[in-house]
Amino acid sequence: MAMFRKGVLLAQHKEPAFSKPIVRFVNPQTDRMTIEREPPANPARAGVSDIVEIAQAAGVTDERDGKPLYKKLLRARERAVAVLVDAVDDEPYVSSRIAPLLQCREEVLGGLALCKQVAQTTNISFVVYQSITDQKLGLPRTIGGMPVVRLRGAYPAPAQSAKMKMREEKGRRLIVGTGALIHLYRAVWRAKRQSTTFITVAGSCVANPMNLEVSIGLSVDQVLERCGLSAEPTRVVCGGSMTGIAVLDRDATCVTHTTRAILAFRENKKDALFSCIGCGRCEQVCPAGLNPMYIHRFVENSYYANLRLFDAHMCVECGTCSYICPSRLTVAASVAKAKEYALCHFIQPGEETDELDG
């Protein structure tokens, strides 16, 4: 019943990609690259500085935020009290973090053991998004003896979940993605440089939706060809279905460390471009409690001075307002514009909050 719910529960569409085995689609030359550093004699007992140096030499990058993993490990060595493994795939179609967690369990656990050594803590948990209704695989309660925290509720998961937000150790924890753990493990145990990343290829136009381990630097076109297109897509997306970026030139756009998915959709052009009927649904679903409808109206009419009341800088850019809009307006884009304006004109430096950095 939609009327009692805050936020929006999305149909996840993760199958069939989620339960299929991950396929390797790699460039053999880059895949053979190794690091020029002596591997530790016993990787299971590698020292902290060894692990950090190897992570730096192998160029392991956290796919969550694009930061080098060794920097995060250095910070964690100083003050981390907990390690969270982020496998929250709350956007529809995307399962590129949860699938490696379930299918490459040994490698993830191996990487996690190394992180544990660096952070010197036993407070370790996995975080997954539970509201996946179409999955065929069950989500386990524990992985390797460590608890799996399940985020419930509507999209966007980190913003809506009190569990994630109000944990005691906020700001003093190491959050890593599953891909980074796998690559850390491979770097330490097999001296491999990170040359691949895990992505989901899905969407209404993709003939064989699946999770791939692809070489970084392959073009979007090559990846889509690997999975096959059942129809010519009108929209190709690099990133999640809610927050990703539309690809204009498929040949020139490459897979990077932080690419989580490549999605191809074909849309019905007919149901577009109605005008706003003021139904207020965007306000009902906004996780930050903003008023996207009025912000959109002011931005459309360039009444930027009126925006002071509306706190656009608190937007978390989840795209929920555009998703729910029955008139198919680009509300989220307007709010993003207003946010930029508000951060420049209304907010003193230092006043903005990093409330929802998860």
Binding site: M3, V8, L10, Y93, K170, G171, E232, P233, T234, R235, V236, V237, G239, S241, M242, T243, G244, I245, A246, L248, R250, L263, F265, E267, D271, A272, L273, F274, S275, C276, I277, G278, C279, G280, R281, E283, Q284, A288, G289, L290, N291, M293, Y294, L309, F310, D311, M314, G319, S322, Y323, I324, C325, P326, S327, R328, T330, A332, A333, T353, E355
Partner: protein, 347 residues
């Protein structure tokens, strides 16, 4: 690969409901009301509806073209306005009155403000108010439902003729009796079943309540506004009965007579002309309930609810801004609490 401007922005998936399905929900329940009107009054009720919809759509297209824009009949908003108008009128209403009301609704209350989504005043309420001022006699003469009538040629007809001269037995509507300060002669149960003279779509109390339930569960109408509106009207009728009768009886007659229920569901359920936030919706609904009852008590017209709603529509912006101030306080307070917790932890 062709990309429209729309295709560039995230999110790249959309909810399956669009403006058409929202309007379609309303049209669906209005069709049910037309079926009820057909049962009570015959084919003339349906013919009035078709006539009104046709004029509204034509006026809408003409208005949009005059604004040099491409008409979108597909958004169905003109159809909803057209279907609402005759349901608020008696079935004996001449076609020309419906036509005038429809033209005023679309060409005066809707299009000059910028069409769908920009109108300040509810088009149906505006059209009805105009007709009520200009054609008072025809607008407030209600035929008895389901009564054998004598046609113009003398032969006995069960229902009013669709076209041609009308000759019917008019009943005394409860709104009229209440305005005189007397007690209506109808049983409350009869009124709940819709068996009393009144506007052709607004007398089926139970059916309208079912419609409201459907719209609320479909999330087309939020539940808080009708609850606040009917709650305020209920309390007002309970505390200040208009005539010598039991308080609860007064509540029953006030709630079920005239357009109160119909307007609470369909005119206040219009998303364009009412506030958006939950809190402002509640405040707006409560104030609207009181204003409507005040209009009934001190107004000169038999049915003044549309005037009250037009008055309230003008305050929508104010309610929205007040609500935004409250929500803004809540938002900032939340952030402050969060920041202070973080500072404590750092220290």
């Amino acid at each position: 690969m062709s990309l429209t401007a729309n295709a560039l922005y995230a999110p790249h998936i959309r909810h399956h409901e669009n403006t058409r399905t929202v309007m379609g929900d309303v049209i669906l329940v209005l069709v049910v009301l037309y079926i009820m009107a057909y049962m009570h009054y015959g084919l003339r009720a349906v013919a009035l509806g078709v006539w009104s919809v046709a004029i509204c759509v034509l006026a809408d297209v003409a208005g949009t073209l005059m604004r040099r824009q491409r008409p979108h009949i597909r958004d169905l908003s003109a159809v909803v306005t057209g279907m609402l108008l005759p349901l608020m009128m008696p079935v004996s209403i001449p076609y020309r009155v419906v036509a005038v009301a429809a033209v005023v609704a679309v060409a005066v209350a809707k299009q000059p403000f910028g069409g769908v989504g920009h109108n300040v005043f509810n088009p149906a309420a505006a059209g009805f108010s105009f007709a009520a001022i200009c054609f008072g006699v025809q607008m407030f003469t209600y035929p008895e439902p389901q009564q054998a009538l004598v046609g113009a040629a003398g032969e006995e007809a069960v229902f009013l003729p669709v076209l041609g001269a009308l000759d019917f037995v008019s009943g005394i509507a409860p709104t009229f009796t209440l305005r005189l300060g007397a007690v209506p002669q109808y049983e409350l149960l009869d009124m709940a079943m819709g068996n009393y003279p009144g506007p052709m779509g607004a007398t089926n109390i139970l059916v309208i309540l079912a419609c409201l339930l459907y719209l609320v569960f479909r999330n087309t109408v939020r539940w808080d506004m009708p609850v606040a509106f009917f709650g305020a009207a209920f309390l007002f009728a309970y505390i200040f009965p208009r005539s010598q009768m039991d308080r609860l009886e007064s509540v029953g007659y006030e709630m079920m007579s005239g357009l109160l229920l119909f307007a609470g569901v369909f005119l206040l359920g219009d998303p364009v002309t009412t506030p958006k936030r939950d809190l402002s919706k509640v405040a707006f609904g409560a104030v609207a309930g009181v204003v409507v009852m005040l209009f009934r008590r001190f107004g000169n017209m038999e049915e003044s609810i549309t005037f009250a709603i037009l008055l309230m529509n003008a305050t929508t912006w104010g309610f929205d801004m007040l609500g935004e101030r409250v929500y803004g306080k809540i938002r900032r307070h939340r952030v402050e609490v969060f920041n202070s917790q973080k500072i404590q932890k750092k220290a």
